[in-house]
Symmetry: C2
Subunit: 190 residues, 2 copies
């Protein structure tokens, strides 16, 4: 429990527009601190071994039991490439080499942006980490399409397929509304 | 001032590793809220009119008086493209059309990632917004190279030049340490 000593140090936030700003923010009226809230970054990778794609079955909510690509929130003081490598290691015990940017998506409704890389397995060993129940390498037609965790996983895989074998390509951005059915009935047309 | 009524509602944060997490976070021991801190996203654009590049002279710190590209923090519920368009409008009263992703940089030491687009002016009107003292359109050799605000502006302009006239190219990522002098003495070699 706490003592009344805590009281004079407690922040006292109100919502107002700071000087020179265009939007309302949460501002501490005791110290002037502005608690800027901004979108978060998810980083991940489509990891290839030859023509097979590394996927992970989620051990945690949301979408527990469904298949995804290794990806997660970027941490402070991390590059996007470091974050993508860390997530592959955490979720699939996979050591990867980043190839290039495959996609930059914005999930504006949840204030999330996703930076996805194309990568390759640097070592053949893969194994489920604590956030996965199962990991596997799938050919395009072997992907468990009907059990995909999130729409952006489909968008990412479609971007991979569209640019298969290419070195120079523009990264995918958000597809037009309705371009891909979710959940998919099978491999998307790309 | 505040009354003692504020006290029981004040958060009480301690630093500890939440269950299932690998890192220490700031956790409110009253309600269990985890105050995740993550890198912030800066979005911006190299805006072209023909072969001229839109630049803005900063009216605000940091680097007041130096030249930059229209860019700034992505806001909640915004796509990266919307953010880049908003920043061009705020800083240079410029209406732009996004072309494609030009660069994805990580400034890990300040927990910032930057997503930069190649874009074009949709309307010839440009004018300094409140955060700029001056805006201008510069040919490559006319850019005020010795008065550039930030190293990543040089990296972005180099990426533009390297991919000049190309539709399909891999976005630039962080250059090797020391690849570009800063401040530059003149146009970088690309």
């Amino acid at each position: 429990m706490s003592s009344s000593d805590d009281y004079p140090h407690a922040p006292k936030f109100t919502n107002r527009r700071p000087d020179g700003d265009l939007l309302e923010r949460s501002v501490c009226e005791r110290c002037g601190f502005v608690d800027y809230q901004n979108p978060k970054v998810v980083v991940g990778a489509v990891v290839l071994q030859g023509s097979k794609i590394l996927m992970c079955r989620r051990a945690i909510e949301p979408r527990k039991g469904y298949w995804t690509l290794p990806a997660g929130y970027l941490e402070l003081y991390e590059t996007t490439e470091e974050g993508a490598r860390r997530e592959a290691l955490e979720e699939a015990c996979a050591k990867i080499e980043i190839d290039r940017v495959l996609a930059v998506f914005s999930l504006a409704h949840i204030s999330q942006i996703q930076v996805l890389y194309r990568a390759r397995l640097a070592d053949p060993h893969i194994e489920a980490g604590p956030e996965s129940t199962e990991v596997g390498l799938f050919g395009w037609d072997e992907i468990p399409w009907t059990e995909i965790a999130f729409p952006s996983v489909v968008w990412t895989l479609a971007a991979l397929k569209r640019n298969w074998g290419k070195d120079d390509f523009a990264p995918a951005t958000n597809p037009p509304e309705g371009a891909f059915a979710f959940p998919p009935a099978g491999p998307p047309e790309v």
